[in-house]
């Protein structure tokens, strides 16, 4: 039986939630902005009036104001976004248990099995849009198709508050569209494709797969299959959770990082956060990756293997700092990221008398105790001594501030 898959995308999610609570925003160009004081002064989301003026997600506030002098900025309220995202998910789950989130504002739903109960895919899509509008005061665009990729593409075609069905007549409907509208075709990939004369989704579909493979590797074949409607990725069931492959945190520091201590403080904070999240999920990692961005906005990543799997900030920090020292940039550092990679899940562990293992287990016990203290008395109740060197840098609490950005935000960064 052919699948019926919906992709629901809440329009201008952050901006719409802010406008719900502040109805005066609806008539003005507005954008949700990061905090310029902490140097996060970029546009996180915008409404249609701001979009019309050319304001783009991810651009600095001064440039947005240049394009659109009467724009108003609102600070973000992540707790509200998460709440609205959950309420939307509850609506989806009244129709099917196969709901897969993609960021806060997007979800795939597999409604193949429930059409007898709730009607065709399009009817369910229209129903869901009505309910989101009435119950949450937001609008959503829904794409309906027989695979996830076209469903997602459908939700991008008509905005706001519309349902788009893409069936087997997809050649007429989408092959004329630019190839970068396809999921996973970012700016870099699109540029590569264009140098080979591939501009539209149709061009991509009709290109020899072997050429795409040479050009883009495995992803080339994947994109070719996407463009031809051959994607068969299943919608993950709710409850099974996303498959976690890596756990990472990054931050843009409130000031440029110059001294070794600046770097150490930031890497410690990030390592602690990564390790805490790993312990929560019962993960150990076998590798560490760092991301460095200097104040010229040049960024790169480096990774290294660990001698033994770990879940302690001690080991992660050691590796991250070693990687940093080996790849020190010339200019001062603006952003840093630490990521635990090659994760393994282990609930049980081999005990050992070897000194190295005993030391590691002790360290792990110690850090679990710290987690517990922080859970009970707050993150800042216990700190490493080095944090006292710079109260501005050490103010960050990445676990609590860990936020998931909507896909539009990520897209603008790639």
């Amino acid at each position: 039986m052919e699948h019926v898959i919906l992709h629901s995308d809440m329009n201008n999610f952050y901006a719409s939630v802010e406008s719900l609570y502040n109805p005066s925003f609806r008539e003005k160009p507005m954008a949700v902005a990061g905090d310029p004081e902490a140097r996060h002064g970029i546009v996180l989301a915008k409404n249609y009036l701001a979009k019309q003026a050319g304001v783009q997600t991810g651009e600095p506030l001064w440039r947005a104001r240049q394009k659109c002098p009467d724009i108003v900025f609102s600070e973000p309220h992540y707790d509200k976004y998460i709440h609205f995202s959950q309420m939307a998910r509850e609506i989806y789950e009244e129709y099917t248990e196969q709901v897969e989130s993609f960021g806060l504002d997007e979800c795939w739903l597999d409604v193949t099995e429930v059409q007898e109960l709730f009607g065709s895919g399009k009817q369910i899509a229209d129903d869901i849009r009505d309910r989101i509008k009435f119950e949450l005061g937001l609008t959503a665009s829904v794409g309906v198709s027989y695979n996830k990729i076209f469903a997602k593409l459908g939700s991008d075609l008509k905005k706001p508050d519309a349902t788009t069905v893409i069936g087997h007549d997809f050649k007429d409907k989408i092959w004329h569209l630019p190839a970068d509208m396809l999921l996973y075709v970012g700016r870099a990939t699109y540029q590569k494709l264009m140098t080979h004369g591939i501009y539209t989704i149709g061009d991509l579909a009709q290109t020899e797969p072997s050429l795409l493979e040479r050009l883009l590797g495995k992803n080339g074949l994947m994109l070719w299959a996407f463009a031809n409607g051959l994607d068969t990725l299943p919608v993950n069931r709710s409850g099974s959770g996303r498959i976690i492959k890596t756990i990472g945190n990054s931050t843009t520091a409130p000031k440029d990082l110059i001294t070794d201590d600046d770097i150490k403080i930031t890497l410690y904070i990030l390592s602690e956060s990564v390790a805490e999240r790993m312990r929560k999920e019962n993960f150990y990692c076998r590798g560490v990756q760092i991301m460095i961005r200097d104040n010229q906005l040049v960024s790169f990543e480096r990774q290294g293997r660990l001698k033994a799997p770990t879940c302690t900030s001690h080991d992660i920090f050691q590796k991250a700092y070693e990687l940093f020292q080996r790849n020190k940039p010339v200019s001062p550092v603006r952003s840093l990221g630490v990521r635990a990679i090659k994760l393994i899940n282990c609930e049980y562990q081999q005990l050992s008398f070897l000194e190295d293992v005993v030391r590691r287990q002790k360290q792990e016990e110690l850090e679990r105790t710290v987690d517990n203290i922080r859970r009970r008395f707050g993150h800042f109740s216990i700190q490493r001594g080095i944090m006292l060197l710079d109260p501005v840098l050490s103010r960050l609490d990445p676990v609590a501030e860990h936020t998931i950005y909507p896909e539009a935000f990520l897209k603008s960064k790639t």
Binding site: L20, Y21, P23, F84, K133, E135, G137
Partner: protein, 84 residues
């Protein structure tokens, strides 16, 4: 444009956790008894700016909406705010 008015409410919480508002205490001290609840469902108030459980209530022979946006109750205030 109507405005959002947060109000004090007296409510009953039953064993299932269902909440039934019984009385609204207005900002100027007036008390409005809720005679009946006609319906309740999740809804957004685009007029007042908020979202929560919307109770359709009867007060003094008039129908009105009362929103519970956990933990705050609000109504959509009209030109004459006394007449909720």
């Amino acid at each position: 444009m109507s405005r959002r008015i947060n109000v004090e409410v007296i409510a009953r919480f039953n064993l299932e956790g269902d909440i039934t508002p019984l009385q609204i205490n207005w900002e100027d001290g007036q008390v409005f008894k809720i005679d009946r609840i006609l319906a309740s469902r999740q809804a957004a108030s685009l007029k007042a700016g908020g979202q929560g459980i919307r109770y359709t209530i009867m007060v003094g022979g008039r129908q009105a909406f009362l929103y519970f946006e956990n933990p705050i109750w609000f109504v959509e205030g009209k030109a004459d705010v006394r007449e909720i």
